[in-house]
Symmetry: C2
DNA sequence: TCAAGATCGTGAATCGATTCACGACGTTTC
DNA sequence: GAAACGTCGTGAATCGATTCACGATCTTGA
């Protein structure tokens, strides 16, 4: 009684429906069902309707594992970020996601939390998932796993990293130019004793280079001191502020360029707590234009960084809709003047 | 010449290696290779070593599609959040990720950006990916897709949502208690004209209920006004601050409980800009203890919410390592007194 | 020394969607 | 009216890892 006369086991009634179920219901073969979804033009309109109706009634969702096993890659793209807690990366992810959705694709966000080990683990996982492309916003060097993956046919784009010594596809805002903008702005409003606060990081180093160039090109006498740190976080910014305050007797800088906004917010807080008036005594420029920059007690002057656009472009490149060259000149950084610096001299 | 005498096509040399390749190199059958990874004890130590060595030399990564097709589910868990830009969800994701990694699992973060449509699309995608479980931190109602998925065998946990009218597995901090803590703190320091600012949202409504209870239980006379809003963001907070300032003549509240920290930061900014002294004129309590709470110019008193722990527990529940009951009483909210409120009367 | 049992490796079937190669049917054209 | 061609549906092979059921080899005890 339990076993019918058919050799095939009856399906559990709540198991996910398969092409076979849809085919049976629509009275066609499994091949036809598949063609209905993958090459609709190959199926006559009449049958197509019938198949789609059957699929709908059954709540057919398809099994991407089977699909992938056959065609070799998934509809998903992988996004590897070093720290999802940084609003910049959250914005990057959102931009990539929106663009992917527009093309019927999905983004898997993996957060390595700055750990090279997790980074490698996730890259391997991406490979085992056969993602059809990878966006990587890694901390340091290009991981070997990524290079291997690329060789094995999974395209990748480095996001937010300049083409450095490597020759892999990479798109990025012009961080050097942004750094130049920031320092020039301070110089233009009369600041002459500048400090750059930032740690080793591909982006930040370029921002520093830009700031340095601005000071060197400046016709008058101006100085740029560099304070190196370990990480670009608000906590570190506060610590640096305390250090600066300690040498108040010998003279504070009158302008600071921070490696990013988190750092700048920490600095701002620390300095104001210490009685420094911003921007009267000292001007401050951050980098990234995160949401909180505008809500700091003294709204932060900063360099806007088109993170969402970068994410979107990276997706388009991976999907072959755009080439790396096409993006040249886009993603220009932009100075956003708020209250931590004076308005630029207007004449 | 092109075609050899073997019927099988030679593999492209840079194609990903398969179990067959590893088996050939180690001189064993494909079954043995598989058992080496899935049931190591079934293989003698000697062979195990040989297989692992071969796999390592070939850079074998496995094909999760094939694996999944056979076993029916993936090693990945899906995390659906409504807004990855909110630090609370970023923290939740990080907590879940760490716990998952400890068990050899991975988390796919999907960001619906508050759109019910994207939410549904991602749930379907999760199904097609056969994730072995889903963590959902949705905005409003429990989506039908999720319920269907659950019925079809994919476990899910609602994170950060109280068990409401529904009866689905859910874990959450005790938002009612947190709201009570916040309001009680204000009452304890002598505030009597309280305002709760918050919009419709499962969490926030509970926080409001707690605040209301605190005021009702309070032996002296105290009032609680409720300002309803559309979204808990900093921008909205600023707008509310402007509204409050406009009625300064008729009297401002002396204590505000905000639905979350983003909102509180916006309020804080708006009020201070308007000349209100915090905490002298008015005390403010936020909710969530996001990183930026501590860096606001007047560091924000808030209720700490164990988001990372919630994420970790949700993962353990999905993996069957813990039951929903086990978490009862954990995730207690905690009052973090900073500068936007006075210290509680200590005697 | 030989049978019974434990240990450990293997061939083959299987999961579900895709796609090739074929064939049935209908239409066009001379 | 028949040959040639197009259109559109189908059977069957395929992707790679897993796992069942079986069998080979080795161990143990009388």
């Amino acid at each position: 009684m339990a076993a019918g006369s058919v050799s095939k086991q009856p399906k559990a009634e709540d198991a996910a429906p398969t092409v076979a179920d849809v085919a049976a219901r629509a009275g066609v073969s499994r091949a036809t069902v598949s063609y209905t979804f993958t090459q609709p033009s190959r199926v006559s309109p009449d049958l197509r309707r019938r198949v789609l109706a059957a699929a709908d009634e059954l709540g057919y969702v398809g099994n991407d594992a089977a699909r992938r096993l056959r065609v070799g890659h998934s509809l998903a793209l992988g996004l590897l970020v070093s720290n999802i807690g940084n609003p910049v990366y959250a914005e990057l992810a959102a931009g990539a996601e929106a663009e992917a959705a527009a093309h019927g694709r999905y983004i898997f966000v993996a957060n390595s939390d700055e750990s090279p080990e997790r980074e490698r683990a996730y890259l391997n996982f991406f490979e085992s998932q056969q993602v059809s492309g990878i966006l990587a916003a890694p901390v340091g060097d290009v991981p070997d796993e990524l290079i291997g993956l690329g060789r094995r046919g999974t395209p990748f784009v480095l996001v937010g990293m300049a083409r450095g010594p490597h020759s892999y596809p990479a798109i990025s805002g012009d961080n050097e130019r942004g750094g130049h903008l920031a320092a020039s702005h301070l110089l233009a409003q009369g600041r002459r004793g500048l400090v750059f606060v930032g740690g080793p990081h591909p982006h930040v180093d370029l921002r520093l280079a830009g700031a340095r160039r601005a000071v060197e090109e400046f016709p008058e006498r101006a100085s740029l001191e560099i304070i190196r740190i370990q990480a670009q976080t608000a906590k570190v910014g506060e610590a640096v502020a305390r250090t600066l305050l300690r040498r108040r007797a010998t003279g504070l800088p009158d302008g600071i360029v921070a490696g990013n906004d988190l750092l700048a917010l920490g600095l701002l807080h620390g300095l104001i707590m210490g009685g420094v008036r911003v921007p009267e005594d000292l001007s401050l420029v951050g980098y990234d234009d995160i949401e909180f920059a505008d809500f700091a007690i003294v709204p932060l002057t900063t360099i806007r960084h088109p993170s969402a656009a970068l994410g979107a472009s990276a997706v388009r490149i991976l999907l072959g809709l755009e080439s790396e060259r096409d993006t040249r000149g886009r993603f220009e950084p932009e100075l956003v003047v708020r209250a931590t610096s004076l308005a630029p001299a207007s004449g």
